[in-house]
Amino acid sequence: MTTDTAVRGAAVRWWRRPWSRRLGAGIVVAVALSMGVIALLEPAPTALSALAPADGAGLAAAPTEVAMEFTAPPRTREYHLTVATARGIPVTEGTARVDGSRITVPVRIADRGVYLVGYHVLLEDGTEATGISRFSVGEAAAPAPIGEPLAAPAGHGGHGAKDPLSLVLVSIDVVLLVALSTLLFRRPRPRRPTG
């Protein structure tokens, strides 16, 4: 390495000047805050909230329709909803359709017994819900639920979990993130020779 005072003085790059580093830091913080505010203000995405009749329901009278209920009117790519007896004989009449914040299918149930519901819906935002449930009509005891909770099976669960280990890891990462940000925006001087 060589030294040239004149060249060094003239070669201060614009991105090394204090004002530009502060401006860059300000932009990063502003973008991060904006994203956070938008995420908090934006209404929650549409999700399947319930089935009617519910999984494991015991009904005294036969329903005329079966429905999937959503937190908001669903914008769907595709959906399927079918109802059958325990022996697999369909009892649906017509096709399923979107009705406000519900997807419904008419059914004709004349006999008492246990009925199975199969459903699948793919929303425009990629959210998917699929599963089965069952309910009984005119039976002495309600059947046990058979479906999973209303969740899509895809994915490995993300990176978050509500347990102490996750909180510890996130806390460590916050400290590291602060350290890294400090390094990036306040570059330390190298150590002076000790010998």
Binding site: M1, T2, T3, D4, A6, V7, R8, A11, W15, V28, A32, M35, G36, A39, E42, A44, P45, A47, D125, G126, T127, E128, A151, A152, P153, A154, G155, H156, G157, G158, H159, G160, A161, K162, D163, L165, S166, L167, L169, V170, I172, D173, V174, L176, L177, A179, L180, S181, L183, L184, R187, P188, R189, P190, R191, R192, P193
Partner: protein, 194 residues
């Protein structure tokens, strides 16, 4: 009067420039990606712990608006791939102790990427491995915890931050051997990196 030659100015090729005259810029860009990814995780943690949102709805910022990014593994796999490429591509610009720590991060990230590749293939093909109902990585067979990859990201992040610290605060020997302009020149030594 001597002439200053910008580090890496005589080098040809993108990789040489990224590890020489452009190492500082490339590292800063890489760190912005890293910080953005962590912002996603911290947002997710905030959604879970502060807002009390259900786990399956706590998908960070991008996953909040585009759930398919998380469910299809594109987000996680894409980040793991970018991390691997960045760690590999920018390694040569490090020297001394910093290079050792950076290499540790690269090695861990390499395995982490393999794990994500397994998850990605399962999510895209719909074929689950190891007899599982959902995409599952090798380590999850032993430690079936959903925060496994948070752990991976943390143990990659630790040596990476140490490497960055040592790279930006080198000793004199490391400073003399470095080709890049990442570390600020000593105040009174009269050396410059242009």
């Amino acid at each position: 009067m001597t002439t200053i030659q910008a580090p890496g100015a005589g080098s040809t090729g993108l990789v040489n420039r990224l590890n020489g005259v452009r190492h500082r810029f490339a590292l800063n860009l890489f760190m912005v990606i890293v910080v953005a990814h962590w912002a996603e995780h911290l947002t997710q943690a905030f959604q879970i712990w502060a807002l009390g949102m259900p786990l399956k709805e706590s998908r960070g910022v991008l996953g909040y608006f585009y759930p398919w990014l998380v469910k299809s593994e594109w987000l996680h796999y894409g980040y793991a791939l970018v991390m691997l490429i960045g760690l590999f591509l920018l390694r040569r610009g490090f020297v001394g102790r910093a290079k050792g720590w950076w290499t540790v991060a690269l090695a861990i990230q390499f395995w982490h990427h393999i794990e994500h590749l397994l998850l990605f293939v399962q999510a895209q093909s719909g074929t689950m491995f190891f007899g599982q109902a959902v995409p599952t990585s090798i380590a999850q067979l032993v430690f079936p915890r959903v925060e496994l990859h948070l752990f991976y990201n943390t143990i990659v992040f630790i040596p990476m931050v140490v490497a960055m610290y040592l790279h930006l605060r080198p000793n004199q020997s490391e400073f003399d051997r470095a080709d890049c302009s990442c570390a600020k020149e000593p105040a009174l030594s009269g050396t410059s990196r242009g």
